[in-house]
Symmetry: C2
Subunit: 192 residues, 2 copies
DNA sequence: AAAAAATGTGACAACAACGTATCATTTCAG
DNA sequence: CTGAAATGATACGTTGTTGTCACATTTTTT
């Protein structure tokens, strides 16, 4: 079945175009969730027809973006060495890494009406290790125990999105923004 | 000019319908920003034709929602007595009041691509008194001075939206949610 | 260079939403 | 009750997006 539709020999450009379309779509939809397929194709310097040859539906494209985001988020988290150091250090690393990625993970961190239960479950699965880190921090006395771990992760994600979205205006470096988020989330705004 | 189009005597129901349409549109667009005019009309138990008789355009309707939200937000803030008590007390009152309003102020607090400079300026104007409260808190030593007042307001708004949006799932009361936001924002997540 | 595969171009129908208009019906004010 | 005004129902043209297709062109592989 598949072998008849599949080309005899794979070509290099198709994979490159596939990645380009996926990346352009992620950026475009992060900028404006209502972008059309034509906008996405143009953002990738390709044609609408080619976009449809790679992703048969708009829905298929969105699912692909979700999957890509989840995969990269998972990689990012494991790269943050979630088992080295105390919870606050880990959170600092996570905030720094996610902040560098910019709005790439907006789809994961935000909650949109088109997110089905299927995606939400995988999302929670990816974020689960982070929740465990917070729980460990609470047990070890580094993090307040009167806030639920899930809420803490939600708050972190919320601050991340706000800061990243506000970044273009305020001319601050990535490191400064990440530090700002970390200080706000961990230390709060009260003096002392 | 106007008097010729205006009815000789005003009727009671038109104002009621106007308010109903505006409220339904606010709720509907808060739930799903891509809702159609038909959805809005149905949410108000009225017809699409009537909706167009009250708001000639979709754009006009959105502008009306923005204006309404700004007006009510301004009322809410003045009702919070921004000059009584220290900054943290005031912030607690503000979070409590805005939290009760639910997602009514999502349009104000969130930044969407369809927000023009005109609206953003009025928005900043409404939020300006709150920024002043934060500045005063920093001068009086209640709020950390190493965070810009604007960022603090942004962080507060961000947490508010996240919490209110997550409220339907977690069966917590309004007061509990408001307290949660306040504790997180002011105290941070670090122990001690 | 030649074959194969992918892309560009242009067109097409299907569809949803927008905005307008007409006319019968209902609702309010006097 | 009666006239005036607002609404419901319905239809219509317009527009933008979606998804598909055929055909010419370009790019890759051998």
């Amino acid at each position: 079945m598949r072998s008849s539709n599949q080309p005899a020999v794979p070509r290099i450009d198709v994979e490159r175009h596939h990645r380009a379309l996926l990346a352009a779509a992620a950026d475009e939809f992060a900028r404006n969730p209502d972008s059309s397929m034509a906008d996405v194709a143009q953002a990738a310097n390709l044609t609408r027809a080619t976009l449809y040859r790679h992703f048969s539906n708009r829905e298929t494209l969105l699912k692909a973006i979700q999957g890509e985001a989840l995969a990269r988020a998972s990689e990012t988290l494991t790269a943050c060495r979630l088992d080295e150091g105390d919870a606050l250090e880990i959170l600092r690393r996570v905030i720094g890494s996610l902040g560098k990625q910019g709005m790439r993970f907006r789809i994961i961190l935000m909650r949109a009406p088109d997110h089905d239960a299927r995606f939400l479950a995988r999302r929670d699965q990816v974020l689960a290790p982070l929740v465990e880190v917070v729980k460990r921090g609470q047990v070890e006395g580094d993090i307040r125990a009167d806030l639920s771990p899930e809420w803490i992760i939600t708050a972190m994600a919320s601050l991340l999105i706000s800061a990243v979205r506000a970044t273009p205006q305020t001319k601050h470096s990535e490191a400064e923004v990440s530090d700002l988020i970390y200080r706000t989330l961990v230390g709060g705004i009260a003096a002392n």
